[in-house]
Subunit: 357 residues, 2 copies
């Protein structure tokens, strides 16, 4: 294993220390329990947006803390869920009196721990809602997950809902917007190579010199199928077909009902993409793929959308939700209405995403 690290046990801590040193004006890091938070938190009267999950996906989530995006992020060890006390303490630290919204990627550990944190925060008198992101069309009920995994739409949700908190949307409005973004977003990933978790010291999985994994998860979980390497256009064609031809997706999710202080079941149906849709197209590097190759991917994505009369009105291209040094990419398409575009375009000032300021 060759990685730019010191001791394996210090990897996450030292990377966070580096981030805090690099961006002292707008990001602070609290250790024990560990969370990244806005330097100016709590922001009075603003809903606090909090996310988190295992480390190894940087810049997500810690790199998205700042004006117009997250108020706090709770990083676990690499590919390991953070603990409830991280989320609970982060909520106490950044709550500005308007409540906290948890954005939770759909992995069993994350879901359970954020549920505990929501109950703890509520018991302390903090208004809390929690929205699940489950946008990966590749697999259902996979390793680590019941239902679909939460992947690229998380980045877009953090940007869009973060902007809504700045516009002083109240907690329910923020939760409704986050739920809509999740409903409108679909993703799929692929890998050219594995990645190596520092504590494991060897690649998470083996992939032949001429093999690729279609539908890979962001922790190196198995995908839909393993294939022989082929041209990027063919790979993108297959992945875009999975995303664009995915029918209505119905499932039941648990949400915290802050008004009654209980968990409720919510029925959700994600609408499929249709001709005439306006979308945000997000082409993401898994960490080890350079931006030059992402542009080859984007070229084909744009061609396919044009052929289906789907209009890409915004795009994001780069490494935003990664899997350590894995080579590969993911595509996220998000149906975008006026509200989503307004908040997409709003200023953002974080280590990982910045414009307008």
């Amino acid at each position: 294993m060759k990685k730019l690290i010191n001791a394996v046990d210090d990897v996450v801590k030292e990377q966070l220390e580096g981030m805090a040193l690099a961006h002292p004006d707008y990001v602070k890091v609290h250790f024990d329990p560990t969370y990244v938070y806005r330097a100016d938190a709590p922001v009075e009267g603003k809903v606090a947006l909090i996310s988190g999950g295992g480390s190894g996906h940087e810049p997500m989530h810690g790199g998205f803390v700042g004006y117009g995006m997250l108020d706090a992020a709770c990083p676990g060890e690499v590919f390991t869920s953070p603990t409830p006390d991280q989320m609970y303490e982060a909520a106490l630290a950044v709550n500005g009196g308007a409540g906290v919204l948890f954005l939770v990627k759909n992995y069993t550990g994350d879901v359970l721990n954020f549920e505990t944190a929501a109950e703890l925060a509520y018991a302390d008198g903090i208004a809390v809602q929690s929205i699940l992101i489950d946008d990966d069309v590749a697999v259902k009920d996979s390793l680590y997950t019941a239902g679909r995994r939460g992947v690229g739409t998380t980045v877009l949700a953090e940007k869009i809902v973060g902007a809504a908190t700045e516009a002083r949307y109240d907690l329910k409005q923020c939760a409704d917007l986050a739920r809509k973004v999740n409903k409108y977003g679909r993703s799929m990933g692929m890998a050219l190579t594995s990645c190596t978790v520092p504590a494991a010291g060897k690649p998470t999985f083996e992939l032949g010199d001429d093999e690729i994994e279609i539908g890979i998860g962001i922790h190196g979980e198995p995908g839909m199928r393993r294939e022989k390497m082929k041209a990027v256009d063919e790979i993108v064609d297959d992945m875009m077909a999975e995303i664009l031809d995915d029918g209505p997706y119905a499932r039941t999710v648990r949400e915290w009902d802050n008004e009654h202080g209980e968990w409720i079941d919510v029925e959700l149906i994600d609408p499929p993409f249709e001709a005439g849709d306006e979308i945000i197209a997000f082409v993401n590097s898994m960490g080890g793929t350079p931006v030059s190759e992402l542009y080859a991917v984007y070229r084909r994505v744009a061609q396919i959308c044009e052929g289906r009369d789907i209009n890409i009105v915004r795009n994001l291209i780069g490494p935003y939700i990664t899997s350590l040094e894995m080579q590969g990419f993911s595509i996220t398409l998000l149906k975008a209405d006026e509200e989503i575009l307004k908040f997409w375009d709003a200023p953002v000032n974080t280590p990982g995403l910045r414009w307008g300021v």
Copy 2:
């Protein structure tokens, strides 16, 4: 070779097509000869800033075309110099009447071809100056290069001088600023892995499972030495010592004298870093190294600077001047005065770097 490409011969062309499709509002691509240029070029009365070089270093240079940075970029094939007609035609296309400034990384092919282009542009009545970037302290007179190689300072120079062109600095002022940025900047890189040029189909060099190359060039050229893998802090300590303890660097460079229409020799001496300096610290991924590991690098860079009473007043952390999918990083330190900081902070709107707009 596993890469997200179609036919090897179409790699650069299709990546550029993808970039043009992604950013139609501010970037256009001309083919035969090939150059990327600002959608609103020529900008009347503004000096046009042009750079270029082999492809494979994206986002540099094409990803830095746009408001506040480059007016045009001339991409060669992967790791291959662009031709004089690319640079000359780009100059004709983006000259807004205030002349063109070529920013040239110090590689023999780039230098020769930009010289020819400067003569062609001058012969057409376009005011032209050309500034060399030679900031790599690792090696002198290496493969491809007489003198020091041009690396990370190029990115900073494109940002800073690009902002100066927006502020309507005249051609001589822009050239003087570019020369100062080059004098104030020093860089060094290292590699954990090789990269694979698509047309070659196999890694540029071999590196053992426990080996690293210190002082690597951005084309995979040999560095100062090969070592056993060690802790990131030790690697950064060595590289920072090379940069910070590098004495005055004296050499003669050729510059085009636009007033007299001839090449002149210019004596340059780069001052070393000193306690009390304010600097911009740039930690760059070679392409395959994720941002999480860059923060571990930055942490040590910041500690070392603090220990030497050198004040990092701005930083840039991410993949900006890459070597395809190579794993590794480079450090660039730039002594920053008031003029440099003013233009660093100015708005920029390019595919690869964006803030303030």
